[in-house]
Amino acid sequence: MSAPTAPVRVFIPVDAAALSVGAEAVAQAVSREAAARGITIDLVRNGSRGMLWLEPLVEVETPQGRIAYGPVAARDVAGLVDAGLVQGGEHPLRLGLVDDLDWMKRQQRLTFARTGVIDPLSLSDYRAHDGLAGLKAALALTGAEIVEIVRASGLRGRGGAGFPTGIKWKTVHDARADQKYIVCNADEGDSGTFADRMLFEGDPFLTIEGMVIAAIAVGATRGYIYLRSEYPHAYRTMQRAILKAEQAGILGDSVLGSAHAFHLEVRLGAGAYICGEETSLLESLEGKRGVVRAKPPIPALKGLFGQPTIVNNVLSFAAVPWILQHGAQVYADFGVGRSRGTLPVQLGGNVRRGGLIELAFGISLREIIEDLGGGTLSGRPIRAVQVGGPLGAYLTAAQLNVAMDYEALAAIKGMLGHGGIVVFDDSVDMAQQARFAFAFCAKESCGKCTPCRIGATRGVETMDKIIAGTERPKNLAILRDLSKLMTDASLCAMGGLTPNPVLSALDHFPEDFDRPAGPAKNWPLAAE
């Protein structure tokens, strides 16, 4: 039956989002149905392309390129195989060449160039797609030269604060200590963000490579990845990737045969949002309660175990290999103003086509949500959009022309954060969202500073009174006063930024704070 040619490569994601909608059953069905017809295939479990509404997305390698089918359910598979899946045959689920799809064509994928393309745990795939080129370039440079390239690229911390990465690295480089550390913040707790997870599951070696480059740049020999426990799939993949990198000599006593040593471990968080704050994360890595430290001293000088430490977000480390390979200026040529390079945007919530989009800074929110995202999933009008996670402001549908860059969003009291966008339709009750912002802060506050610890609880109580219609003018005044206090006096961004969602909800959607109080003014039970 089958000719003795190389088996056709079929790609089905092992990404957790794809698995969450049935990718495992699809993979089993494809193996089974192909075998039943005597067709030999090479089934590759890749990461996700980021077109999450099309998951499970099945791709087939053909002479013309990779042809995609999706979203595929296990019950579709027999028909798909009969329709000539392995030749890229016609079928109602056939989407065409992946690279020709509008979603993919409009992106500039630097960090996510390999995610969804390669076998995540294959180092030969990684090398064949430019992997380790950045590290090899770095090994030919001095630490100071690497730091200067990162500075010149304009890369800013992708975790949310946007601090220039090169300056942080220079501080650690210039510090003198027997032991320095590289710490990767993979505690991706913001709702609406999943880029770190996708990258770990789809291209884990990239973050490892970025961390090794950082280690060489500043003279660090140990590193930790602090990964949230809500990501069990990413944890497994990263553990296996680290093992493979050790076996291949990328990690260990001699990085790629050089005089540099770098040992890396992945550590699990334990369900505390605050541990995404860098000093709290360091406390947690040291085995303590995740209580925020006062700064100064900054972690670059006194970080993990009191030693000079680079703490960067996953996406910051992951941008570095590309910069080293292609040069600082090429990276800086992407983007606008003081936001250089590309930003992996994550689109979620009530949106028809959600997923990951990597683009140069400067695209408008409207293009992302309406053109790429296709509006709301429910089909109802967009009412509010939260950008930058639970501490980011709620924007109105009229504000969507704002550009996705640090300064443009700040100018309208918004926040880019980690690049997450959550869309809400017109069924949202913004007074409830404001209440939730306080409730979340109350639950997740580390408890060290009073404005956050007490303020969040007072905020919930005040919102309850406003919602219940009790002395509204007086309680709204208290709400603003409390928000100002939390903004000005909290120790870290958790308490300091919680008023963002609260005040933006109040300022942009005042009608929701002025509704007649009714019985069961909770969430609607109707809808479906």
């Binding site: 989002a17 969450s20 609406g192 309660r289 209580v291 979620g348 959550v422 969430w523 039970l525």
Partner: protein, 159 residues
């Protein structure tokens, strides 16, 4: 939940001893104990304190700070339901209300049954395919009332 060993001090001591050499070993030890026994027994506190040269207060403080660590064995199935903003935008709070109304199960609270505990989690990183839940390490997307009841073992899977 099936699959966990009954707590035993020697087993716990072995786990603690095997990881005590790590820098900042407390969290790895707590995760390992919970992975083995399903929770962290109070008897672990002096064990860890001794092995790591910490005070018992420090160890207790760490255990009590993190939402993940349980101090009593789990009795039934655990369903972690995401209730962060992206899942709120797709009606996760409606699911929470329906679960209580139709099945008497209160998220994070006392329920009519011990067979399942539904816990709040804030973000599972599946924000484009919510509402989401995590059950036995498996991520589930596009959860509706029917699917949630299935995940809780309240009704058998339709198909």
């Amino acid at each position: 939940m099936a699959g966990y060993r009954m707590w035993d001090d020697d087993g716990a001591r072995q786990i603690v001893g095997g990881l005590a050499h790590l820098e900042g070993a407390t969290l790895p030890i707590l995760h390992a104990l919970q992975g083995e026994f399903g929770y962290v027994d109070a008897k672990a506190v002096p064990l860890i304190a001794d092995a790591l040269n910490l005070s018992r207060a420090e160890v207790h403080g760490t255990i009590s700070f993190y939402h993940d660590f349980k101090t009593a064995p789990p009795v039934g199935r655990v369903v972690k339901l995401c209730r962060a903003e992206a899942c709120q935008a797709l009606g996760c709070e409606t699911l929470v209300a329906q679960l209580e109304r139709d099945h008497g199960i209160r998220v994070d609270g006392q329920s009519a049954t011990d067979a399942v505990a539904v816990e709040t989690v804030y973000c599972l990183g599946n924000c484009a395919l919510g509402p989401s839940a995590l059950v036995d390490g498996a991520l589930i997307g596009r959860v509706d009332a029917q699917r949630l009841a299935e995940l809780c073992g309240l009704v058998s899977a339709a198909q």
